[in-house]
Symmetry: C2
Subunit: 205 residues, 2 copies
DNA sequence: AGTCTCTTGACCGAATCGGTTATTTGTGCT
DNA sequence: AGCACAAATAACCGATTCGGTCAAGAGACT
């Protein structure tokens, strides 16, 4: 296990991304160690040399991805931003920035939540307990509602925003070549347009 | 091949859904005939009895899914509906209705568009040519733009709507138990709120 | 040259792959 | 009941791939 950590970082990243991509795309059972090795450009034997077994590799990826996600959420504290649109924007931006650095993490974590293989059930339940609490940052607050021209729109807008975020993530996952930066620009423009049209005049800027 | 068509329809649906689900989830190479047979509750030998080979089964599913998608789009002619929001709403509703009847089709078709296996490359290019033309129903028209309070918002709103549709589809795919009808209600509500806030007063209702 | 670390091609038995065949099972007919 | 026929499958095929091992090679340093 410590064999892997003494590799040069660039190689580590290549291997990790290959593994995240394979597990994320196929799930634990269908992703073979050979797939990962070929995609990473190394031999299958090396993978076992670095991680010991397929399950140990998967466990390593779980803690690796979990740490990145959790720390990225921790550094942006959502309590500071009081406005609904600011919160969703900040949330999306941090998620996009994290995704840009390591594009295979979201796919991997998404698949981990629906993973059913018996062989990794134990380590998955542990993982889910640790990371499950990080989903509470988008609740609608009382002081958000009053800013809307029509307060009934508040909840609807929140649904729109969450759908957009989901579609945004799906979009990023499918088109590998799209630039994240330009996409986030567009996303910011959409958020701005929504705020401009839904909020009362007095709350604009 | 005609062996399969003489089965009782319920059994056909079970088998088709199992196959669509497996191919959609794993892709052609990683989805095994045994997976499909087990999921459908029949023996692997029967699958070969019905379809001849794995590739023939995949080809059958392609035409099956293609026919359903295309006919569902044909029956709702988008040229009639001249308003942008009406068009996106109608498009989403027909898609949702089709998806409700056969929940595994969208996943399957989505995976077919990113399928890379050599063994089915020939039939896939054929399929893509046939169905590719059915994606043109969401272009922004000149008479749409003038209805906006701020015409510059038109393109932004279109992006929002497409992101929503993508997130909507992703959402339906992940949560199998969510009711489509209630979700489409919410979706309708979101569309209505968008129109109400972005359009000039004169174009409301 | 020697030695030490890292990497890998070749290999292992077991499992699974797509596909076939022979046997069982179910069903209608008399 | 017994028979005949069709539908479904258990058992099997050779080939490939699985997770995992190991000894031989490729460099780097002394």
């Amino acid at each position: 296990m410590n064999k892997f950590l003494s590799l040069k970082e660039e190689k580590q990243v290549t291997i990790i991304n290959a593994a995240l991509g394979c597990f994320g795309k196929y799930g634990y059972a269908k992703a073979s160690v050979n797939d990962i090795a070929v995609l990473a450009g190394i031999s299958k034997a090396s993978v076992f040399q670095y991680f010991g077994s397929k399950k140990q590799l998967y466990a390593y990826l779980l803690t690796y991805a979990g740490d990145i996600i959790m720390s990225s959420f921790r550094q942006a504290d959502f309590d500071e931003k009081t406005d609904l649109f600011d919160r969703i924007l900040l949330s999306s931006l941090t998620e996009a920035k994290t995704l840009e650095k390591n594009p295979y993490i979201s796919q991997f974590i998404l698949s981990a939540w629906t993973e059913t293989s018996d062989e990794v059930r134990d380590i998955l339940t542990e993982f889910k307990n640790e990371t499950g609490k990080f989903r509470n940052h988008l609740i609608l607050r009382k002081d958000d509602v009053s800013k809307f021209k029509n307060p009934n729109d508040a909840e609807t807008v929140l649904q729109i925003l969450m759908l957009m975020a989901e579609g945004y993530a799906a979009h990023c996952r499918n088109d590998e070549k799209t630039m994240y930066s330009s996409l986030t620009d567009d996303f910011q423009k959409m958020i701005a347009a929504m705020r401009r049209n839904f909020y009362k005049e007095e709350y604009l800027l």
